[in-house]
């Protein structure tokens, strides 16, 4: 099949049946649930250790009320991490390259943190709009700026994830196209391009993991402010 550069980002369908749901939820199949053994197999041991470590890391800055968010934040991180890493395989569709999915994740969660803050401690939440120690003259301008920055957070969250992954995938595709096109013309340059592609792939693996972590970390930070 002849691929254009858009085919990687189109929603997958097989004979007209949309596969978007299973492609988004497929990563959940890769996380086995804990069986009742005391000493499980290596895979389960590593998974339990990983989830335990990340949850502890995320929940340490939060107080007791924030621990209610542990399940959703950890599962979100696991999902994003797996989706991003699986997207690096060839011919796979990465759901997190779609702005719709990322906004659907970022916006409600950010709004939840905001509303929690406004409901439980409204003055403290509003107080975050003015950093400490600002000169009196700058107060009106700073409040406007802080409000804008607050309202732009969901957009930033969603677009950050989308842009990083889309850009990475696009770059991989373009450089591999260049490599393929140069192969019959100038093989050494093609080899150089392939080396660049190798380095880029390693970068993309790192980016995939980092973006998932950053998404969840920022959400936990917004939660810290507001809980």
């Amino acid at each position: 099949m002849n691929l254009s550069f858009f085919d990687q980002f189109t929603t997958p369908s097989l004979l007209g049946i949309p596969l978007i749901l299973i492609s988004t939820l497929f990563p959940t199949l890769l996380f086995p649930s804990s069986n009742n053994r005391w000493i499980p197999n290596r895979y389960l041991t590593l998974q339990l250790w990983l989830i335990h470590t990340t949850t502890k890391q995320l929940m340490i800055p939060l107080d007791k009320k924030g621990h209610k968010w542990a399940l959703i934040l950890t599962s979100l991180m696991a999902l994003l991490l797996t989706i991003n890493l699986l997207g690096l395989l060839p011919y796979t569709f990465t759901p997190t390259t779609q702005l719709s999915m990322n906004m659907a994740l970022a916006f409600p969660l950010w709004l939840a943190t905001l509303l929690t803050g406004l409901r439980n401690q409204p003055s403290t939440s509003l107080g975050h709009l003015l950093p400490e120690g600002t000169p009196t003259l700058l107060i009106p301008a700073l409040i406007l700026i802080e409000t804008t920055s607050l309202l732009i957070r969901p957009l930033a969250l969603g677009v950050r994830l989308t842009a990083n992954l889309t850009a990475g995938h696009l770059l991989i595709q373009l450089i591999s196209t260049a490599s393929t096109a140069l192969l019959p013309i100038m093989p050494p340059v093609s080899l150089l391009t392939t080396t660049i592609l190798l380095l880029l792939t390693i970068l993309e693996v790192a980016v995939a993991m980092i973006q998932a972590y950053v998404f969840v970390l920022l959400l936990s930070l917004y939660l810290q402010e507001n809980i």
């Binding site: 009742n36 005391w38 499980p40 041991t45 590593l46 250790w49 399940l71 395989l89 591999s176 592609l197």
Partner: protein
Amino acid sequence: VLHATRQLHTTQQSLAPLPPLPEKGGEVRHGLIPEEFFQFLYPKTGVTGPYMLGTGLVLYLLSKEIYVVNHETVAAACILSVIIYAVKRFGADVAAFADKLNEEKIAQALAVKNEAINSLQTAIDEEKKEQWRVEGRTYLFDAKRNNVAMLLEANYRERLMMVYHEVKKRLDYQVAMQTLKRQKEQDHMIQWVEKNVVQSITPQQQKESIAKCILDLKALSKGAHAAV
């Protein structure tokens, strides 16, 4: 929405113990294909059978353009080489880490058990020592009895000595009294005799004795002169 997070099955339905996990995972060749596949093809095609099958399949897909070589092929080659390098380089370490986590868990439980056994063993040894100590109690009591007897004896001797000293003191007093009385009588007698003697010296006797002394002195002086 919270109902969705409720777990349906929280335990396995039967309470029978789970069968133990196998020691090692299934054998795979090249990290992907199970060994049973090679064994399955071995009787009919020998050792090279599965490899010929694989090569033929790949060449068929390529030559018929069922798999088209495009830019994704290069990307696939890159990501697969990265994955294979990562697995080969870090695979053993990750497995050892997982094994270490499990080992620590087992070691903790074993440590609890061993500590319980050790503490009980120490308790048994202490109890034995106490029993041995109890056996030696008779010697202790004998020694104590001896001590008490010695104290009593020493006390008795002391009191005996005191009695002796007191009696001696009284007897010495009596003796001293007697000696004093005799001494006084003697002195008194001497005094009485002297007094009587001095009284009995009449003036006549006194003159005669003085004249005699003068005569003696003269005689002596004459004798002295003569000597000189």
